[in-house]
Each structure stands twice: as structure tokens, then as C-alpha cells.
Symmetry: C2
Subunit: 405 residues, 2 copies
């Protein structure tokens, strides 16, 4: 006797719905995978390029404006996809309903442009499933307590997918994208990069925070928290991709499971700062208030004062320098390094292996690659290096940590 | 002592929000017209061309599909405009909030793609007005009892504007468009066409139903019903345009106030049909079921059977012929006239002047213009003529009925 309908939540990214042709292929795939014992629930992103177009319109009207109007603007892209995909399913003879966040009750806080989902009402979706209707949910968007549309940040449709899977107890969420899997490194930078078949939530969170663009970091956090296994796979092939699962389910954890990089970042060095933590605290408060994302920070004391260095994304550099200019007198030296990259290795296996950092530095030293800033955590090592050294650093680290084979 | 805030409802069409530049101009205009004694409420259409683009996407996915998904698709255009206009107002220092139909409570029936507004909740708008916030409402859309997005039909933003004005008791609605006024005829066809300063609701309804594209017919019906005076005027100039008002407010009604035309229509003639009304009734039922809009119908008896002629829009011709083919045997002769136009004159003044039809036919006869079908009402005369005669017919009627001066 069947006790429960299994549900498959499938999230399709922008390239998977990027044209009429691709939407038709998606509908064919869903029809092919129709199975009376496994209901399908779809989450869709905006057609590729659409969100960028909407951002450009918004920036042209009022650069930097954030609030309900901006999120209403951006959310229209997913609305179009949800409607079109639902129509495409009907066209191939499947029953379907499109949903926006407000219709379903995907409730978020009111942090516009980076809202967090607080609650999902599953009533309508579960009713649809009972009636054999395939719900198509607009990703990336939510609705707040004021009935305003919110958005979850770029890549937020992943988070809609995983949150929905968690809410309806689906157990797993498939993320269909334009790459076949998560790789040990970006193959454009490291030609010997390989597909990863399984990786832990913790490693994937670290990778996302270090610049990997494969998944929205919040989706992986939700997957870890609510035990939703995430399957990253190609929209255009049928084979399996990468499973992101609890660490305990992976039999053998390699020392290092992947290498991540950010090609372009910037470093700001300040010297001398007044001693004590007050000046640091208020500087970082100011930066945070202006929305500058500060990544790696190093600080050291010297007789004349503190020396501070920190990295910021290239696009935040101008804003960061304005903040510094307003806060400090002209006596402080400001040095800016622009042609800078970050390379990181991640692996839960390094927890019990103290030699990883040493091997990391030895590998770079052997290639005469200078390291400007370093940061480590229990499961990662990151270094800021010159952009011209990035490819050599990434490839030699990939080899040194046995990621090639 | 001030007892009531006056409210001005302003609806901006697609060309008024057709580019970043035009949206900026719109915001400047609203700022210029800011007045503590007269609150402004805006209704906006989709950026010009956007709705056509969305229609094309939908047609490509599933031609002819109608339902919640299709309306969700089309409604995204107005969502983008409302968000951008609200941001543009903020940019020039005005306080503003954008609204979609579901947020405001613009409730309609569930006739997707041609829904009718049944109720508007004015609470939020009136609260905004009290706080000096300018609401920017997405036109064309509604929400039904199932929480689905509906749309009101092409041009439906006019109806949103007038319905909103009625609901908040604004008394008038300004329709900003790409023409400076309603004209006595289309100036592209009749070079001597003049602007009309005042016209009655009844005449405007007749004009809209006869093919004038200036206003959504339902908006004029609502204006008449709820005593909302409609002011059609240019988005790009400050001067007044045409007021559509109750007949009683117009001191002198001309015999004929305007000439309307449809350049391209089609006529289908059937002979002989079985006698009696049964075959006519079931034919028109079939046509209506398929969505064919039948305009003028003439029918006459002859010994061998009835002769029927009726006009349909060019785009419905194929469908109409299919319906006829299914319903009747091959023995019935079907004649199709394709290069056909309709020309009409409208005027409440003709109610008490029986000579209008005679003058209409005399004018065409003097020019040797054959008339294929005719229909009249209390305030209009319409004739179906050959397309090649349209310009001559329109210009000579315009002169004959004193519309030139």
C-alpha cells in the first residue's frame, strides 16, 4: 500500500528557460519524467539576461535605490518565466498552475533585495499535487508582512527551491543549471578540474562564500539545516551531477575537495591607524553601513600605530575609499592594490591534518608566488595573490592537493 | 477651513513611459504639478512595445492559450512600469509607493484577458494620500477571487484609471497619451480633422465601439456610470485636450461630432440559407463560441432562401470561414470581400434630425462610392465600403457634416 506521494522539487536556472526552444525542451523533459508515484514541483528563474536588463533599467532611473519598488521591478523576470513554463506544460498536455510568491505565501522579512524566507504555506502546492497539477513557482521572490514583493538576492531561486523542498518535506531538490556538476575548480582556469560526485554541505557553503557561483549560499545553508539533499545537474543532459549531502554520508572525505577563486578583488592597506580597536570598529561599521563587503582582514601593531589591510570586491573599491577619506585625516597612508585575486582550497578532511596550510604555502613558494593576505578556517585556506599569478597558483595547488586524478 | 483633499488621478499610457528619458520627464511633470491641496494618484501602462513582446512570447509557447498563466505573463509589463515610475518619483524627491492589483485589492471577475473590475479597496491609497505619498498603480491588471492575476483587455489601463477615480471619489481622470486630444477624425486619413474640446460619454462609447483606439471602451462606460469626467491629453505638452463629460454639460451639440473608421475589415456573404431564424441563430452562436467578433449584419429574404451578409475583423476571417464550412453544406454560396473598410459618423445631435442618414448616402452617392452594408443607431451611421474609397468617403463626409471648420 502506498502511504505517501513522493515529491520531486526541480529548480531550473536562467539558461534552462532562456528561450522559447529551451522552455519547450523543459516541458518535454517534465512530461518524460512524469510518474504517478512521484509528483513534480518546479521553481524557475528569470530567462537568462532578463534580470540584468531589469537591473540596468532600475540603475538608470535611480542608481543605488533599494526598496519595495526595486524588488517589484526585479521580480517581474521570474513572473514571466513561471507563466511561460506553466503554459508550455499545458501545451504538452500536462496540468499546471503558475505561482508568484504572494499567491503561495512565500513569506520573507523586509530586507529588500536580500530578504530571507521565514515561512512557506504549502497548502496550495499539496492540493495541486493531489490533483495531478504541476505547480510552477516563480523563484527569487517573496512577500513580506506589508504585502510588498521582496527578492532573495542574485541566485535566490536556488533558495526558493530548497526552502520549498524543506517546507513540503520533499527531502531533496534538483538544481538544473548550465554546468553538468560542481567541479574541483573552474575548468576555464584549471583545465584538469574534475566533476565532484558528492560534497558536504559544509564544504559547499565555504565554496559559495569564497566565490563559487554554482549555488546561492543561503540555499546550501537551508539544505544543511533542513536535511534537503541538493542535486546540481545539467538542464541539457540526463546524467547525474553533484550531490550536496551531509558530511556523514560521504564515506571517504579527501583532504581537499575543491579549489575556488575570485579573479578580481582589491586590497586596501592603511598605516598608521590610532592604536586600539575603536578606530577599526568604527571604520568597519561605516563600511558595512555603505554596503561594502569586506572579505579578508589582517591587522598588526607597530610602534607608530596599527597597520590594517583588507580586501573588498572590485565594484566596492570606490565606495570603500570614500568612506576612508571621510573618516581619516590625510596623515594616514592609503595603499590600494587592484590587480589582485583570491585563491582558496576547501575540504572537511583538513580538520585533522595540520599540514595543509604548510603545503599550501610551500606550493606557492616553490613557484615564487608572493602571498599578500591569508585567512584560514577549520576547512579552508585562502590567499590573496597577484592576478598575474592566479592561473599558476590554482593549477599547482590543484595538483599538489591531488585534485587532478 | 479645508474639508477635503482633492485628488487627481492621472493615467499614463505606454508611450508616456516608453523609455528611461520619458519616465524621467513624467516624474519632473508630477513634481511640477505637486500641490498640497491636490493629491496625485498615478496609473501606468506597460512601456510601449512591451505588451506586444509578451504576447509574442506567449503565442510562441502556446498559441491561443488563455487562462491565469497568460494574464500573469501580460501583467508583468505594467509591474515594471509601476516600479520604475515610483523609483523615478523618489529620485526627484517625492515620496511614492508602487502597487500591483493584488496589493491594492483591484478585484475582478475571472474572465481572464477581458476581466471586469468588481471592486477596488481604497484604504491604502487614501492612507498614502494623507501621508503625502504618491501611489503608482500598475494598470491593466486585477486579481480575482482565486488570487489569480487577471487582465482587463488591451487598453485596460484607462479602465483602471477611471475605476480608481470612481472608487476614491476623484471626480475626474486624466488620460495622458501620445495624441494631444480626441480628433473629429484620424488626421492621417482626414487632414482637416480638428481637436474636439468636449464630447459626451455616449458619443465616445460609440466611437470606441466603432474602432477609435483613443480610449478603452469600458473606461468610458465607467466614466458615464460613476460620473468621472475623463480628460484625454498629451503627455508631452501642458495644454488641455478633450474632456469627455455628460451630454448635459455640453451647451451646443453639433449634429455630428466625429467621424470614425476601420481601414481593414472583411465581409462574408452567404446565399441561400434555409428560411427562418434557426440557421442564423446557430451560425452566430458558433461564431461567438470561437471568439469571432461579428460587427454589421444584414439579412434579406428571397424565394430561394435567405441572403446573409456580415462583417468581421480581418484577423477573424479565417476562423469565421472554418465555422461556416463546418456548419453548411457545399450548396451554399460563400462570397468573401476582403479589401473592405468601415466609415461611421457619430453625434448625439442626430437624434432629432432625421435627415442625417439621407445626407450620408447623398454624399457618398455624389462621389460614386458604392455602399455594401449599412447600420445605424440613434447616434451613428456606419457604412461598409471598398477600401479604395475610404479616404475620399471620409474626407467628403467630414466636410459635408461641417467637421472641417
Amino acid at each position: 500500500m502506498k502511504t505517501q506521494t513522493l515529491i520531486s522539487v526541480k529548480k531550473f536556472g536562467g539558461t534552462s528557460v532562456g528561450s522559447i526552444e529551451k522552455i519547450r525542451n523543459l516541458a518535454d523533459r517534465i512530461k518524460r519524467e512524469s510518474n504517478p508515484d512521484k509528483a513534480q514541483v518546479l521553481v524557475v528563474s528569470a530567462m537568462s539576461g532578463e534580470t540584468n536588463k531589469l537591473v540596468a533599467l532600475g540603475e538608470n532611473i535611480f542608481s543605488g535605490f533599494r526598496g519595495p519598488a526595486y524588488d517589484m521591478l526585479l521580480a517581474s523576470g521570474e513572473q514571466v518565466s513561471a507563466a511561460l513554463v506553466s503554459m508550455a506544460l499545458e501545451k504538452v498536455g500536462l496540468k499546471s498552475k503558475p505561482y508568484l510568491a504572494y499567491q503561495l505565501g512565500i513569506v520573507t522579512d523586509s530586507m529588500y533585495s536580500r530578504a530571507r524566507i521565514t515561512r512557506i504555506d504549502t497548502k496550495k502546492i499539496l492540493a495541486d499535487i493531489r490533483e495531478g497539477i504541476i505547480p510552477v513557482v516563480a523563484g527569487f521572490q517573496g512577500v513580506d508582512a506589508l504585502d510588498n514583493i521582496t527578492t532573495l538576492g542574485r541566485g535566490g531561486s536556488d533558495t526558493t527551491g530548497v526552502a520549498l523542498a524543506a517546507a513540503i518535506g520533499a527531502g531533496e531538490c534538483e538544481i538544473y543549471t548550465d554546468v553538468p556538476a560542481v567541479f574541483t575548480a573552474d575548468p576555464r582556469l584549471v583545465p584538469r578540474a574534475r566533476e565532484i560526485s558528492k560534497i558536504s554541505f559544509e564544504e559547499m557553503i565555504e565554496m559559495a562564500s569564497l566565490g563559487s557561483k554554482v549555488l546561492h549560499i543561503r540555499s546550501v545553508e537551508l539544505g544543511a539545516k533542513y536535511h534537503v539533499r541538493i542535486h546540481v545537474r545539467s538542464s541539457f543532459e540526463d546524467r547525474e551531477g553533484t550531490w550536496i549531502i551531509p558530511e556523514g554520508e560521504i564515506m571517504e572525505n579527501p583532504l581537499v575537495s575543491s579549489l575556488t577563486h575570485e579573479a578580481l578583488t582589491a586590497v586596501i592597506k592603511l598605516f598608521p591607524l590610532p592604536k586600539g580597536t575603536e578606530s577599526l570598529a568604527s571604520l568597519f561599521e561605516d563600511l558595512s553601513e555603505k554596503g561594502v563587503v569586506v572579505d579578508i582582514i589582517t591587522q598588526s601593531e607597530a610602534p607608530q600605530g596599527q597597520q590594517l589591510a583588507f580586501s573588498v570586491p572590485h565594484e566596492d573599491l570606490k565606495l570603500a575609499l570614500e568612506v576612508i577619506d571621510q573618516r581619516f585625516s590625510k596623515e594616514i597612508q592609503v595603499e590600494v592594490m587592484k590587480e589582485i585575486s583570491k585563491v582558496s582550497i576547501v575540504g572537511v578532511g583538513m580538520r585533522n591534518h595540520p599540514g595543509v596550510a604548510a603545503k599550501f604555502f610551500r606550493t606557492l613558494a616553490n613557484k615564487n608566488i608572493p602571498v599578500h593576505l591569508v585567512t584560514t578556517s577549520e576547512i579552508k585556506v585562502s590567499a590573496i595573490i597577484d592576478k598575474k599569478d592566479l592561473a599558476e597558483a590554482a593549477n599547482s595547488l590543484h595538483t599538489a592537493f591531488d585534485l587532478d586524478s
